[in-house]
Symmetry: C2
DNA sequence: TTGAAAGCGCTAACAT
DNA sequence: ATGTTAGCGCTTTCAA
């Protein structure tokens, strides 16, 4: 494994000159440049990022913090982050926290130890105080889920409005008994989506029935099934369900089918996210599309700006209601 | 940002001593150790991986090469790799190649440039010659998909046998007209699964009809739909379909439903992989379970051994046929 | 246009 | 048990 010294010797120049060629500085005469390039080729030399990174005090690595890689919601976001990062010479370290503060801390250490230059956090369970503290020293961007008002830039959508529109759609097609399948209200997005749900109901003069709001501990298929069981057992059974995640909605779909009822004739279902699978179910799922890929590229671009010392502002991206079979038999 | 020098000065010892404490060497007296620890705490010191990595000529990073992150098949493998890596002090760099040789090459550069210590490749499209060449110098393990006989250790399942059993199951429940939805035979697993399919048919004295074998360019839902369209158009329509990927099978399911036919009464469907979603469809999908998580941990353990200079052997893991609704109405 | 040399932060061989 | 020091491979300032 040749190093820069050997290249320099081979080319009969100094290491400084080799470095200049490596970094495309144009203060090198074309003759020397050629000599150096020949030496590089001859020795099969590859510059070591280890040396460069130490010297430059950077790792060129971006850390992505996600609670659970099993939720396909994150896939396109990751893609977006990766492609943007790549185009700027960064690579991504994917870190699954399982919403476990200990695991989170291991990953936070990576940035403390300079193994990563910054963090895109998508973890709602993240310890907000630690994150805030970290953000003083390191570049951090929140993506999709965010703690409001903690001074860390984020990219997300308007959850309240998205939720409002989804529920309004159900109202417009005639539903009056609409259940909300939400996650724990410790999450900001859960509170926002609940608010949107309530606003839509109120606006149409419909009563808020607390019994129509069920909560799940996790955004998963299984929890969607369980929650749907509860909804199906309700005394005055709803004719529509709005779930704050496609995974929950798909679980609901399954449970409704299993109970012998029909979607959307007996119960209409709306999901949230527009993951790939929302189009593969039977019936296909009406859902709120989040611009996942764009969220990823935006978050990455913001983070890289931040790493470079620029000021960055939070961004709210557009969402869109995708009407499919689960609300339009 | 304190460095080891400052800690040494603060503690009134040499940098060597600080380094010893950092690395848990027990040649340090407990008094000095305490002094050093206090200095570390006082200065809020975090050792830089940049310095350590250069010194140790390692990055402690493992590169994962996948063709496309959108196929959930890889999710559990990644989880397995990550957890094993983490337990050994490694982190993972997730790299999506899109089966694009140029992109592959960018990622290969990471190991050439010492940004990564080794590679777990799950990319069937990978340039075999380059991979072989790289494997001479760097630690590489193939996971799930592999090039046979190129001397790079792999971890996978017995695709031929798995395929044989899946088809045999269809035969045993009475099917005689069984289609194979396969991928391009340039992939070894495609050839193996075809072989298993053919062995099962032959063993039961059934004729091989080339028209019953359709090929897809990608393992995706959409390609599954398209392929199923072709199968449905066949003159003597099959009563069962064995798809070499759950994603394809789910596409087939959708297409069959759309055509007004019923699964499994009109057409039975078997998939491959046992991705999470194979249990969320309606009907649920009979499929061959691959031990994804285990494949991940195994591959990572093998790779880390290889990085440490040990010899490692290829591993064949067990598979299992999971019978669900799509073959047992 | 080029070179000499310092130094990024750490570890380990060697010395005491 | 502890310290001194070289050096991992690179970039960049300063000098020529």
């Amino acid at each position: 494994m040749a190093n820069i010294q050997q290249v320099a010797k081979q080319a009969g120049v100094s290491v400084a000159t080799v470095s200049r060629v490596l970094n495309g500085q144009n203060t090198v005469s074309s003759k020397t440049k050629t000599k150096v390039e020949e030496a590089i080729k001859f020795l099969n030399y590859e510059p070591s990022m280890l040396g460069r990174n130490l010297r430059n005090s950077e790792s060129r690595i971006i850390l992505i913090l996600i609670p659970n890689i099993s939720n396909p919601f994150y896939l396109d976001i990751i893609k977006g982050i990766e492609n943007m990062a790549l185009s700027q010479g960064y690579n991504i370290l994917l870190c699954e926290t399982d919403s476990n503060p200990d695991k989170e801390n291991i990953y936070f250490d990576l940035v403390r130890k300079k193994m990563a230059d910054g963090i895109v956090s998508m973890d709602p369970a993240v310890n907000v105080d630690t994150l805030k503290e970290l953000a003083k020293t390191y570049a951090i961007i929140q993506c999709s889920e965010y703690g409001g008002g903690i001074g860390i830039p984020y990219v997300t959508i308007d959850s309240e409005e998205a939720s409002y529109r989804a529920v309004k759609h159900l109202i417009q097609i005639g539903h009056t008994k609409i259940a909300l399948m939400n996650s724990d209200e410790k999450f900001l997005y859960a509170r926002e989506r609940k608010a949107g749900y309530q606003r839509a109901l109120k606006e149409h003069g419909m009563a808020l029935d607390n019994g129509y709001m069920v909560y799940t501990q996790e955004l998963s298929f299984e929890h969607g099934q369980q929650a749907m069981k509860k909804i199906l057992a309700l005394r005055d059974r709803p004719t529509a369900v709005f779930a704050v995640s496609d995974l929950l909605a798909i679980g609901a779909l399954k449970e409704i089918n299993a109970s012998g009822l029909h979607v959307p004739n007996d119960i209409a279902v709306v999901g949230f996210d527009k993951i790939d699978f929302s189009n593969m179910t039977n019936p296909t799922l009406t859902t709120v599309a989040q611009p996942m890929y764009k969220m990823g590229t935006t978050a990455a671009a913001m983070l890289i700006d931040k790493i470079k010392g620029k000021e960055v502002d939070s961004v709210i991206l557009d969402h869109e209601l995708i009407i499919r079979e689960s609300t339009s038999g």
